[in-house]
Amino acid sequence: MPAFVYKTQEEYGQFIRLHFARQDIPEQTIVSGILTLKVLRAALPRVMQFLRDDPVCRFTQLTDMTCVHYPDQQDCFCLIYHLLSPMLGRRLRIKLTTQEDVPVSSVTAIFANADWYEREIREMFGVSFEGHPDLRRLLTYEETAFFPLRRTYPVQGSKRLIYDEATGQCVYVPRLSEENRPSGVKLEPEKP
């Protein structure tokens, strides 16, 4: 079936949702021109497989994958997958939410380049992935005991290195709370 049958993004989203149970893709929106589908955690591999292999979708490339931390919400991590279909010139955004101890199934079997993206998200946010072949740290060193890209982690770090004269060694001490302000400057109260 040719792709031009679906003229608008809404129709396209509805077409995709037709292939799944209603609760698998509970929400569809169009955010800044890109169709965004909210996907249930358990349905992710099925949805991804369909989007890659279906002749009307052909989302053959996982362009980007990232995570956002919302500390106030119960499902505090939102994973965002950007898919691209170079053949049809379409983009699609997949979103799903998860918690710290709930693993998300890895999509490395469907999109090979999810490998490093998932490694990076695990080390930066602490989201765990199920079925990933190799979850070593990617950008930071192995001893890193914190998750830098979480919103709760201060920009300047939670510790600082000082020289302790008594022992003659360099030791880590906790940072003072004043220094934990973003960028270390006194800020105007931000707009809500």
Partner: protein, 386 residues
Amino acid sequence: MTMFEDSYFINIAPMPAAGMGMCRFVGRLDGETVQQVDAHIGFSHRGIEKCMESVTPLQGLVYVEKLNRSAPFSCTHAFVLAVEKLLGVSVPERASHIRVILAETGRILSHLRATANLAAETGTNSVYPLTNKMAERIYALLDEICGADPFCTFIRPGGVKKDLAPRTEEILSAWLSKELLPVMREIEDLLTENRIFKSRTVDIGKIDAPLAEALGFSGVNLRACGAKWDLRTAEPYEVYGNLSFEAPIRTEGDCYSRYLLRIFEIYQSMQIIREALEKMPQGEVILPDFEIKETETLTLLSRHFELYEKGISLPAGEVYAAVESPLGEFGVFLISDGSARPYRCHFRSAGFPVMQALDALTAQCDLADVRVIAASLNLITTEIDR
């Protein structure tokens, strides 16, 4: 042969040589044949995504342009497009043309470097003097246009920092035809039909289009395998839609075709610059609301003071904007919660998926070819590590 009997591990050099930044490859070899390459990145990770959460977009520009110093304007361009998309503003025509000219100049610079690096890895060091001299010249030209080096937040939300100096058009077209063209001919004389260069690059590091697409390739690396995908024509931004050009493609997907495409693209960028210079209208170069300048009246002064201090308030929302950088698709994913600072800013590096595909590209190749393949992909680790 099992890996325990005959293969061994070797560090295939820290790789600063090809001008790509720092990274380490651990190779598993069987004799001289590479079985597996494990790329260790993160040596130039600076946490720029985290820093972006604590600064305003205008301050953030300074971080963003440090992502990739070998291809000026590519990263800032994507970031500025994302901010503008979120704000819902469109920049003046003239500013858009100036951005295209700068982006294409940056592409020429980056492709020249990549070509010289590839040539050096294959043993042809005599390309370096040519490209370095031309790079110096390009930096001097960009100095004249931007007022400082190319990393001075020249492209900024709302337009560009200032208008082109008088006679810049003539200087640029004279540079294209009288200086760049002879150098390009000289580089081509040195490499294109060079038997040694060809024997090191033809049929080395081959990849086909479906696999390259699935691995997340973009830009020259993808077009070299026969996929016709160029963001400038597929999803036109700025004034690329009004310019007549078509991205060249090759079908071989080896190191040599990537080299050839870079050379083609330099010629094409020259055409694009000429056309943009011709079509460039007169007028404003930045929207009045985003302009920072010395003013007489107190109200305007306070407005600009506010712009400096608080920055531009971003409306709540999320946006993805991408440009065709010399390395491929460079994208910025920006989430705002309505404050002056982004809630989350993620960069889609062009080199990140390519670096992780290095293992697939180097499968069963010779040890000596690993560096050639890496150089032909034009990997820049500062951009990959962020």
